[in-house]
Symmetry: C3
Subunit: 220 residues, 3 copies
Amino acid sequence: MVHELFSPGVQHVLDLVGIFVFAISGALLAVRKNFDVFGIVVLAEVTAIGGGVLRDLVIGAVPPAAFQDLGYFGMPLLASLLVFFLHPHVERINWGIALFDAAGLGLFCATGTIKAYSYGLGYVSSAVLGLATAVGGGLMRDILANDVPSLLRWDRSLYAVPAMAGAAITALCIRFDVLNAVSTAGAILTAFVVRMLALRYDWRAPRAWNRRSAAVEVEE
Amino acid sequence: MVHELFSPGVQHVLDLVGIFVFAISGALLAVRKNFDVFGIVVLAEVTAIGGGVLRDLVIGAVPPAAFQDLGYFGMPLLASLLVFFLHPHVERINWGIALFDAAGLGLFCATGTIKAYSYGLGYVSSAVLGLATAVGGGLMRDILANDVPSLLRWDRSLYAVPAMAGAAITALCIRFDVLNAVSTAGAILTAFVVRMLALRYDWRAPRAWNRRSAAVEVEE
Amino acid sequence: MVHELFSPGVQHVLDLVGIFVFAISGALLAVRKNFDVFGIVVLAEVTAIGGGVLRDLVIGAVPPAAFQDLGYFGMPLLASLLVFFLHPHVERINWGIALFDAAGLGLFCATGTIKAYSYGLGYVSSAVLGLATAVGGGLMRDILANDVPSLLRWDRSLYAVPAMAGAAITALCIRFDVLNAVSTAGAILTAFVVRMLALRYDWRAPRAWNRRSAAVEVEE
């Protein structure tokens, strides 16, 4: 069984931490957008559980995990409460949030891949769903807030690539039958470290070919 | 069986009325956005059945109810036709639309909660899905129209709170085993009345803490 | 069995061609929006497989076909690669893209209708899902790119109507038990030809009634 690499208790705590930090990013965007308290909660919930719900619908795991465990609803509520009262302070600890968000990203790309595989999907599809679990919530957050998804934008540091790396490593570990707590932790850590480096050194993905030439830049 | 509180005929008629008024709001937004007749129909259909389809996908009730009863497709078509030809008159009877919309909101938050519970979800999850049934279509309408969802905006009167109240009352009635036609009608009526009062007196939800201080307003 | 009208091999090739040209349109929009290479791939994938995944979720065909065949992921990758390096040339062959896109539209509205029917849906619901298969990906593409969906806009030539025609003809063929390779090809061809004519002669759907009078235009 690839389901439970860590003890269920540990995995659950990790899940809840990941959900919490994703929820913080949703709630903060809602505050910036001047939404009301309900908008804050909706954006926090969607950001936190959206990716996992999408994955569960695709693999046929209904009702999705988020609807079977009150903690999944509860953490975003807690995050909303925190942001509602303390958002200037929360914004100030941006670095801390980025740290937790990178941890959530790493965690979800690995656990999403494993869950998809355990429902009978192939290696590539599982990795794609791991990626979708990790970045889907943020995508929905930006759509709801009527922003161009930061995931797609050229002027943001790499976000999908670390998650792709983590998901791919996890899928390869499954493929070569070396998935265990250590190798999963390695996949999570890889995604986490790549994300933090991308953020620190502002690594970006290239845009389409001729957009990179100076001539074109001027022309624009 | 919590399924059929009212006679099936009555419930079906109520459902169709709710769908019709939700479709009107979608069609009117499409007209305001200068969409063509097909855009009007799409927005009417999505607004009317989007919330229910989302709920059915989450609880695993596939194909969703809307794909099993032609009335669910037909009512939005009728609403589109009406708006297509008479939209200046329809806009003028805004108060009537608000009335029906509030009725649809109340109805869907209660029936959505009941349907989710009857598919084995917990009390809280059922209430969340009741809420999603009631407000999901409107959310999709605004996303398709490329607007910031009015559900999330601070400068709109309370919309989610009445639906939350209705869904919560319904879930509590199920929990304490007192769900019947009368208590369900009470839940629907509560959501309806709270929504109408919110509209009449322009009740709003608070924004994040310091956004309410005048100092911050100026600073913005 | 309505499943396999053409030999499976032929149908698979047609599917992949349709996916490829839809992916091109997604990738080109991403380039225009200045997204990075990952944004190009995401938009290509969503445009190409979004409609089919939506249909499969609604009819309960999980995991969706796109997650069971690597070709469905692979073609959009290929399209992204092409657009990434050659996009000025690809844009220049707009007419060729429109041709393939119309072919994809025709193909997907027919095969979508047939698949939905084979999962037990009614004639009308099947046709609606055929339409959704054909236009759903483009809708998601525009939502992700934060554009008003071109499907809904008045100032674009007919796109949904050809797909509706193709889906309706397919459903009627099923209804009157005359569905075969020839009649399906007829449905596909009808959608294709109507779309090409709409593009060539800039056919548009009407907007709501009074919006068409000159007086109102001025007033706006």
